[in-house]
């Protein structure tokens, strides 16, 4: 039985190799978009490629927001079996490029004009030593508030423009017996919220210095301490069971009206859409108070590997399709994010999406487009995760004061650098 099996599999793999001579009309794609809207959005890309005659070989590995997929990718690269492309985040792309396993799409980029249409902030991660190694799929922004409109009307609230406004609004909700702030007590959610708090407390310059340049003086400063105090203030508006909650359950609390507001990236919009809610009538999207005009972003990228020559044509087709205006629009309408190029028309987007596109353009032009530290676009993973540790320990009480938090943050980041 076993021998039969071995022979059978050997035969099967034998067949696969006979087609080696000419171009392989297939893309192998590692990703962790296995659910609902995202999978549907990716299916658009699969369809686009099918029209050009390329088959799609799916390598989905879900779990841990890409952790499991990245582990699998590392094993694949160690074995020398590169996929055509893999979904990747920020610094990971650069790490793999430095290891010399990424392909080179510069020619295609020139032809398609990516240099001009993709924001410079994204090119920092998709271009390595002058070579295009990845195709950005979208731009997410994390400094958003997602508010249940019915609850907002009930408590008579208005858009908070400053952090103090925000606290006043939360107080109103508390008085009305609604959970003011929906938060999932997992470290990345807490840190994502803290990104916005720091931008709001210290302003754009401070955020950039502290969380993109990792400037010691800024990390140690009183402004950082104040940011932690503000975070502590926000945490008092959270319900007691928040610890460990998944982010989409926190979003569900806002959708159902159990909670007033969630501070979360724009992927939360996908949840509102899935529940058939419309922006403006059912829910509201505001920038985190005090951060208007700036955008803290993260972005999903398709890293392009250095595949054998007979697979390069398929790779180019994949990259071109990924950055095509039609796919950028179709995908991002579903995903809740905004296109990774600034020249995509916003006609198909809802009100929040239109605002997101306009904000991104303004931030890109004004130099206020910053990488999210919590999402791995502010600093390499070692630092980003050390940062998440500190924020989470502060939220859950292992770190007791904001003074201590600042000391720990500086220590952790120094240690991880």
């Amino acid at each position: 039985m076993l021998r039969k099996l071995l022979i059978g599999t050997a035969l099967a793999s034998g067949l696969a190799f006979t087609a080696h001579a000419e171009d392989v009309k297939e893309v192998q794609m590692l990703h962790w978009w296995t659910s609902g809207g995202e999978a549907a959005a990716l299916n658009v890309l699969k369809g686009d490629l099918a029209k050009e005659g390329y088959a799609w070989k799916d390598v989905p590995v879900a779990g841990g927001g890409g952790d499991a997929a990245m582990t699998a990718l590392k094993a694949m690269v160690a074995a020398g079996n590169y996929p055509t492309a893999s979904q990747m985040l920020g610094y990971t792309v650069l790490d793999y490029a430095a290891a010399g396993v990424m392909g080179d799409l510069t020619e295609t980029a020139k032809k398609e004009g990516w240099d001009k249409s993709v924001p410079a902030a994204l090119q920092k991660f998709s271009v390595y030593e002058g070579k295009w190694v990845a195709a950005p799929v979208n731009v997410h922004s994390v400094n958003w508030l997602w508010i249940n409109k019915a609850v907002m009307d009930k408590i008579g609230g208005a858009e908070p423009k400053t952090f103090d406004d925000f606290i006043a609004l939360l107080d109103k909700a508390k008085a009305a017996g609604v959970i003011p702030l929906a938060l999932g007590g997992q470290n990345w959610q807490e840190a994502t919220m803290f990104d916005s708090v720091v931008l709001s407390t210290g302003g754009p310059e401070f955020y950039k210095k502290a969380f993109n340049d990792l400037d010691d003086a800024s990390l140690k400063s009183d402004t950082m301490k104040k940011s932690f105090d503000n975070l502590a203030k926000l945490v008092t508006y959270v319900d007691p069971n928040f610890s460990g909650r998944d982010w989409n359950l926190a979003t569900a609390m806002v959708i159902k009206g159990d909670a007033l507001v969630q501070v979360m990236g724009d992927w939360a919009k996908g949840e509102f859409h899935a529940a058939n809610k419309t922006p403006g009538t059912d829910f509201l999207c505001y920038r985190f108070p005090g951060t208007d005009g700036s955008v803290i972003y993260n972005s999903d990228m398709f890293g392009m590997f250095n595949v054998p020559d007979d697979r390069k044509a398929a790779q180019v087709a994949l990259a071109t399709a990924t950055l095509s205006k039609s796919f950028q629009s179709a995908f991002n309408v579903v995903k809740g994010s905004v296109p990774a190029r600034t020249d995509v028309p916003d006609t198909d987007f809802d009100a929040c999406g239109k605002k997101g596109i306009a904000d991104l353009k303004a931030a890109n032009d004004g130099g206020t487009l910053f990488g999210s530290l919590a999402q791995g676009y502010g600093a390499p993973p070692a630092v980003a995760n050390a940062y998440k540790d500190v924020v989470s320990k502060f939220v859950h009480g292992q770190i007791k004061t904001s003074d201590e938090a600042v000391t720990e943050l500086v220590k952790a980041i120094d240690d991880a650098k």
């Binding site: 390598v59 879900a62 590392k74 094993a75 989409n248």
Partner: protein
């Protein structure tokens, strides 16, 4: 204590006359305890079962422990044939075969090797046997995460060698095939346990039987087949259960070495259904999918469990 060895004395004390009642109470207590623990073990299954028959509405608004108000079979149908595993939406039914063709050879090979090793280590002791066993035993503790990359490197080289073979002699001998790779990996990291199980089971097995057979002229393999194997049913059950479960449920190796479409094992597929990062989590479908994915393992438990009978040792001694 030395009386153990003496043959049965027919005059040995019978239970006291009040024993009947005590016995009844004993039985009631035993059954009561067994039932109580059964409840503890069943609790999460109950939660999963009722959830899998509820609509999403009811899950979001009702109590987790309550029975479904309007039981629906849809989540099971969806998990079986419609739910999306990545971009392919054909349910998890297609992944059974991938797992089975990996699990069955891996379990058989590792269990037989374990039985042979255990037999050698207890009945054919040689100098250093204990050290060899100790080393194999300690191997159980290596964290799989730290072997992931070096193993991948080796499998990758073996795979390239397979391609070379393919081009030169026309067959890769299965080298580089991801199912073969997984079987190999699971055998490598399974024999520590299977050897441990059999060695410790055979440790209590009377060596004298083996010696007697040896004197009668039975060969190494004859003794193994005729004396050891027939008396090993319970430990075979345990070993098969352990290996089957672990290999079936392995995610780390499966996702790293066989995540690519056609050979994707069940666990990776299940994980892709369940472990979604966005979208409304369909708990009912997830629970149903998990139970479907566990069916082969459960089947093994029930079927193998039938052989959980008391060993035939006593008979073997006399025969």
């Amino acid at each position: 204590m030395s009386t153990v060895a003496t043959p049965a004395r027919p005059t040995a004390s019978r239970q006291a006359s009040g024993g009947m009642n005590v016995k009844l109470v004993n039985r009631i207590v035993i059954y009561g305890l067994l039932a109580l623990f059964a409840l503890f073990y069943l609790m999460p299954l109950f939660v999963m079962l009722v959830t899998s028959f509820k609509t999403m509405d009811e899950i979001q608004n009702g109590n987790m422990l309550s029975l479904p108000k309007a039981p629906t079979f849809d989540p099971w149908l969806k998990a079986w044939g419609e739910t999306c595993v990545g971009l392919t939406c054909a349910g998890i039914k297609g992944y059974f075969w991938n797992s089975i063709k990996m699990v069955v050879p891996a379990v058989i090979i590792s269990t037989l090797l374990g039985a042979l090793n255990g037999y050698v280590l207890t009945k054919w002791r040689f100098r250093g046997a204990t050290l060899v066993f100790g080393l194999m035993l300690f191997a159980c503790f290596i964290p799989f995460q730290s072997v992931l990359l070096p193993m991948a490197t080796i499998l990758g080289s073996v795979g390239r060698f397979g391609v070379t073979l393919q081009n030169s002699i026309g067959t890769s001998l299965g080298l580089g095939n991801s199912t073969v790779n997984l079987v190999f990996v699971h055998v490598v990291y399974g024999i520590g346990f299977t050897t441990l199980f059999f060695r410790n089971y055979y440790e209590a097995f009377p060596t004298e039987l083996v010696k007697a057979a040896q004197v009668d002229g039975a060969s190494f393999f004859q003794i193994f087949r005729r004396i050891m194997l027939p008396n090993s049913m319970p430990i075979f059950v345990v070993t098969v259960i352990y290996q089957f479960t672990n290999i079936w449920n392995d995610f780390l190796f499966a996702s790293a070495y066989a995540g690519t479409g056609d050979s994707m094992p069940m666990t990776v597929a299940l994980n892709n259904v369940v472990n979604t990062s966005t979208g409304v989590v369909e708990y009912n479908v997830n629970m149903a999918a998990a139970m479907i994915a566990a069916l082969p393992t459960l089947l093994v438990y029930v079927l193998a469990g039938r052989y959980f009978v008391r060993g035939l040792m006593a008979g073997a001694v006399k025969g």
